[in-house]
Symmetry: C2
DNA sequence: GTCTATACTGAGATAGAC
DNA sequence: GTCTATCTCAGTATAGAC
């Protein structure tokens, strides 16, 4: 069947999102997808490459939307000063279109430290564009301090996408991703705007 | 030998810190520690309980120092307003005493989502004390929004303790933990101080 | 080209001898 | 307390059916 590959991807996405990458076995995936174990290695080569393809498929439209929103923010600012909020919105809000499963996958990956490998392949130029925009918005920061703040942002984002918000009364289950991300934009705007610490 | 247990703990801490929990096998640990495989299950019961004991041993002094610093901050503030910085410093700076290995372990745990289980056991009352202090510092926030911001903070902290800072020129390897954490305090102060988003 | 059956190595866990 | 042997299940590799 032509959609064996698709069934594997769908099932893997769901299980990775719920249980994490390491905790999900290929045998769980094939059982859920109703395919043979070796089909995974035929179509993808390995468990890690399956993950890689999953990320590529989901990340591409998100990154396109990120850059489109960033371009609009830059056009609006013109030659004048560039506020942080629209830059952060451009980076973060497009993730809201990811379903809960994909969101959890992305967050898990960031969190499990698997991202460094994938990041350069899939996000390299996007990150570069946003770093430039942030440099323009925040000229008071050294490159090192800006790098750290971007690092902090990725950490917050990771837990926001993946984790159970154990500090939020009610577990935050009723709060959809877009609202979480708006809350995060507010928080990060304040953080980025803080004076340099050295 | 009485210190079989200690040798296992030391080696596990080092390997978990460098490779993460999932990526470290018990057989790597016993080979590094020079003990038998079954010794781990005799002394700890399982791989996860080994981790649990590791966390307990390292977290207890950190949490004690956190509460001591928080008490000092509350005493300094008296009846007046309570600034955010000393509260965040009390929560974050005690982690600087953790060596790089333990720091990575802690960060990994936060990031791998293993913390929710461990958190309630080891950090429950500490978190409660700090939530109260933050509520006093930031009366303009709803309980939900404060919860989200604490969640964001844990995400940033996790990546700060564990991850390679890929956005920092030079990889940030020369920057010690205390300086990273000071940088994080500045950032988070700005974030927590941001106006409520709803 | 696609998929199945099966086997290989290494993981965590356990029972029982010493 | 410690060690050997063994169990199940993980990811992986390959030979061959259609």
């Amino acid at each position: 069947m032509i959609d064996t590959k698709q069934k594997i991807l769908d099932t893997a996405e769901r299980l990775f999102g719920h249980q994490g990458f390491d905790a999900t076995s290929l045998r769980q995936i094939i059982s859920g997808a109703g395919v043979n174990l070796a089909a995974i290695h035929y179509h993808f080569g390995s468990k890690e490459e399956l993950l890689d393809e999953l990320v590529t498929r989901k990340a591409t439209p998100v990154n396109d939307e990120r850059l489109a929103m960033l371009d609009r923010a830059l056009a609006m600012a013109g030659e004048g000063p560039l506020a942080i909020e629209p830059v952060l919105e451009a980076f973060l809000m497009p993730m809201a279109v990811l379903g809960p499963s994909t969101g959890r996958v992305m967050g898990r990956l960031l969190a499990e430290g698997l991202m460094p490998k994938l990041a350069k392949r899939h996000f390299g130029d996007v990150i570069q564009r946003f770093r430039s925009a942030l440099e323009r918005s925040l000229p008071h920061l050294t490159p090192e301090e800006l790098g750290w703040r971007m690092h902090f942002m990725m950490g917050s984002l990771a837990l926001t996408m993946s984790g159970q918000p154990i500090f939020v009364p009610g577990g935050g289950e009723g709060v959809d991703l877009a609202e979480r991300l708006r809350c995060l934009v507010t928080f990060l705007s304040g953080g980025f705007r803080a004076p340099g610490s050295r």
